[in-house]
Every structure is written in structure tokens, then in C-alpha cells.
Symmetry: C2
Subunit: 164 residues, 2 copies
């Protein structure tokens, strides 16, 4: 039996949670950019998210179990946001979104590099990345391979190349 408003279709239910212009952007920044606090997410936002929208999305995403928030031991006011098992399993979805966007929109070269790597790596790469996210966010053991570092290095190389 369905739980929410419109219908019990799994695609619809996914859209009801994530189908807006900002939720997946926030998750993307936590996931691929390793932004872990409100301030980082606000200041280093590529798309310039507004502060009230960010606050609202952080609330909603934590309420629906896609993020968790724990206090920063060094700074009583700060919260550190982490991905959950559910949001880590969005990796294949985001990879496909990146792949589709690369083909059917006009992305910038620098910002496409990570999407390209993720696409070419396929499921094995996604699984390695998910294992690493489980380490970074859920305290799982550190895997041998750091997909995060590979993606970041490729991105920075593209940035440097563009800057020349």
C-alpha cells in the first residue's frame, strides 16, 4: 500500500522525495565535493544556492533519512552532515544523470570530467565509490582504492588545463 500523497509508484515516490531543483544538488555537493557543513555548502556552491533554501533542504533531507547531522565537537554551533546508506545508494542515479546530461545538454568541460570518469568506470567504479563513501560518512573501514581522489585529481587537472 502506498504511503504518501500521489501514488505508490516507486518512480513517483522517488520524485516526491528528490524531484525538485535543489535536493540532489545538495547531495551531489556532499557526495562529490565532500562539503560537510552548512557554511561549506553555502559558500562553495557552484550554483549559488540561497541560504534559506539550503537550510530548508538540509532539514528535509535529514527528516527523510538522506542525511544525518551530528554536532561538531570543536564548534558547538556547527553541524556536520553525513550521507546515509540511502543517499549513498543514489550514486548510480547521479552517475546516470551526469551521463545523460553530458550527452544531451551543453555542460562545461571541467565539470564534465568527473561525470565522464563515472560513466566509463561503470558499476565496478560506482561500487568502489560507494564503499569509500561508507567509510567517509558511516565509519566503515577504509577501502584500498580512493575513487574520490581519482575524481578530484581529474577535476583539478581539467581546471589547471583550462586556466592555461
Amino acid at each position: 500500500m502506498p504511503q504518501t500523497g500521489r501514488s505508490g509508484c516507486p518512480i513517483n515516490l522517488t520524485l516526491e522525495q528528490l524531484g525538485d531543483r535543489w535536493s540532489l544538488i545538495v547531495i551531489r555537493d556532499v557526495m562529490f565535493g565532500n562539503r560537510r557543513t552548512y557554511g561549506e555548502l553555502l559558500e562553495r556552491s557552484e550554483e549559488g544556492i540561497a541560504s534559506n533554501i539550503l537550510a530548508d533542504r538540509l532539514k528535509r533531507l535529514t527528516a527523510s533519512g538522506l542525511l544525518t547531522r551530528r554536532p561538531d565537537p570543536n564548534h558547538r554551533q556547527k553541524g556536520i552532515y553525513s550521507l546515509t546508506e540511502a543517499s549513498i545508494q543514489l550514486v548510480p542515479l547521479l552517475a546516470h544523470m551526469g551521463a545523460w546530461g553530458r550527452r544531451h545538454t551543453r555542460p562545461s568541460r571541467e565539470l564534465s570530467v568527473r561525470a565522464e570518469l563515472l560513466e566509463k568506470g561503470g558499476a565496478p567504479l560506482w561500487n568502489a565509490f560507494m564503499a569509500e563513501l561508507a567509510h567517509l560518512h558511516l565509519g566503515a573501514p577504509r577501502p584500498a582504492r580512493s575513487v574520490f581522489a581519482e575524481l578530484q585529481a581529474a577535476y583539478e587537472k581539467a581546471l589547471a588545463h583550462r586556466a592555461l
Copy 2:
């Protein structure tokens, strides 16, 4: 170089086109439900889309190249909507959305059956389905296997089972 408003990230650009609560629902109904006209999409909508929203989305999706509209030869007023190459390539994305929704929301059993088949079939099934959609919507040759019929049969079997 980016083309649109917020950033050139391919994930963001995909969200700018599809990141609302209705666009993917419409595409899903055309794709999996084979609804080809305004009336079919309105009347047989599981989620009860409003007529003005549907009209707006059909306009926007055709404008951005995810649907095409041709007049119905038997009925001058009717338009027949078809998927394009770009929207057919959303099959893996929708399959992943269904898979994620099945795991992390509370979908109804009947409406999950297709998502389950798509998930278990994986990339080979998606490719067969995309070939069939190219036949149904773009006039490509008819493939040997009809994934559409398999999905529909499974759905109707689940419906009948529920009705007992």
C-alpha cells in the same frame, strides 16, 4: 562552456530540464504506459495531473526536445506525442529511480512489479527496451523481443492477483 542559468555541471543541467515533480512522470507514462495523446495522459494518470500542468509540460518537453508532436491523421485536433532519442536514453535513469524507490520508500506492490523486472534485467533488458521504444516512437525496425509486453503482462498479473 555552460549554456543555461546556474552552472555547467551535467547533473545540474539535467536537473534544470527534468527536476520538477511532473516532467518525468509524463515521460514515464508515455514510455511505460504508451500514452500518446493529451487525453490519455490526463485521464489515465495514476497521480492525477492537472490539465494545465499537463499542457505546460507537454509544451516544455517538446520545446526541449524530449517529446515530439505530430497531428493525428484521423482526428485533426488530436496530437500524437512520441519519445525522442534523448528521452529514450532516460530508460536507465528511470530504472535506477524505480530501483531506489523500491528499496527506500514504501511503494505499492502492483506498481513495483515493473521496476523489479527492470532492475533484475539490468543493462541487457534496458537496451532491448530502448530498441523497442525506438520502434514504437521513431519508426525503427521491430525488435524480436517485446519488453513492453513482458512488463505489461507482469503488471496485469499483479493487478489480478491483488483483485482476488
